[in-house]
Symmetry: C2
Subunit: 209 residues, 2 copies
């Protein structure tokens, strides 16, 4: 099933990277249908026919971008392991996901766009690879619950809530910044979020009587 990577010249490698970088920006903010080849070409500093020399169709760019994304995107969850203290393990998973939202917001938005549109291009991956991985990790978490290491609850929805809360800071960034205002909406917002999320997931909101 492995597609052999075509031989490419130095220029081809560089230009393709340039295009993918530009396309990430454009697709992330406009979605696939809302983005034009001209926009991407301009962002990459080249003419449209030149871009089409490196990627023959608009879909090819998006597909390449998507394949790369999915690998790195699920890496943090793959790292979630049975070794070490469960609460610590979950805490660092949350932290890693939040760091990804901070460092790769465009990738997060690209993914969000694809899901919002009904995931027409990655549905098989969601039902296959992703589901398998989540089920696997849910089993690990269930083990922790049975061992009394963390409170018993639904592991799948726990994973959803971690995805939702962390990716929110990438996908809804403009809203977060607008609501926090210029003072609290600066660079410190990710540390505030990290502190808050840690407390939420570990202790919840009930006051320590």
């Amino acid at each position: 099933m492995e597609i052999p990577a075509p031989r490419r010249t130095r220029i081809q490698q560089e230009k393709r990277e340039l295009i993918l970088e530009a396309a990430l920006e454009v697709f992330a903010t406009n979605g696939f249908r809302g983005s034009t080849i001209d926009q991407i070409a301009e962002a990459a500093g080249m003419s449209k026919p030149n871009l089409l020399y490196y990627f023959r169709r608009k879909e090819d760019i998006h597909e390449t971008l998507m394949q790369r994304l999915l690998d790195t995107w699920l890496a943090p969850l793959r790292e979630l392991d049975d070794v070490g203290d469960p609460l610590t393990e979950l805490r660092s998973y949350i932290r890693r996901k939040l760091e990804m939202a901070r460092d790769f917001p465009r990738e997060s938005r690209l993914f969000a766009n694809e899901i919002l549109q009904g995931a027409p291009r990655i549905m098989p991956m969601l039902e296959g690879e992703l589901k398998t991985l989540v089920d696997e990790k849910a089993a690990v978490i269930k083990g922790w619950m049975r061992a009394g290491k963390i409170a018993p609850t639904d592991p799948w929805h726990l994973i959803f809530s971690i995805w939702a809360t962390t990716q929110h800071y990438a996908d809804f960034d403009v809203q977060v910044r607008a609501v926090l205002g210029p003072d609290r909406g600066g660079d410190g917002r990710f540390e505030d979020a990290a502190r808050f999320l840690e407390q939420l997931f570990i202790d919840g909101l009930k006051p320590k009587s």
Copy 2:
């Protein structure tokens, strides 16, 4: 500042509703730029020029949809009140937001699309009306914390986390259903989510020793 509603015939009222209903569906899945008037017209069962008789520009449809959305969208937060038990109050806010994700998923996706694209059309509202409302409710929550009714933490990020976790079930619905699979991804997923979120927000994950 109140724009007087133009007089409209019965047909105009009905057809405009029909168009808005169709446009909600189309905009929610394709975004503004990714949607075409033809798509909306076909979904509404009328010809493009006929649609343009009721809304002269594509933007007018989107704007009308957005204005309506924002009122109902923030209603649950407006209801968050200082009367009654704080934990109960928050619990029912979460429940109401989750019910909105279940009952109005297209509205949620429409909003998500707008934010993802940088909120070009509602930025003033985010920085104005929304920020004011959230600041106001954050003050209420801070009062609860000072009174020892709930654990002290960041009220703004608390509100973000409630938005994120609940809207996730509308915006990322296809992913949720794909991961849960045909068995657990059925209609029961919202009750499972409600149970999980209640526990998360009240008690967190730390086991009761």
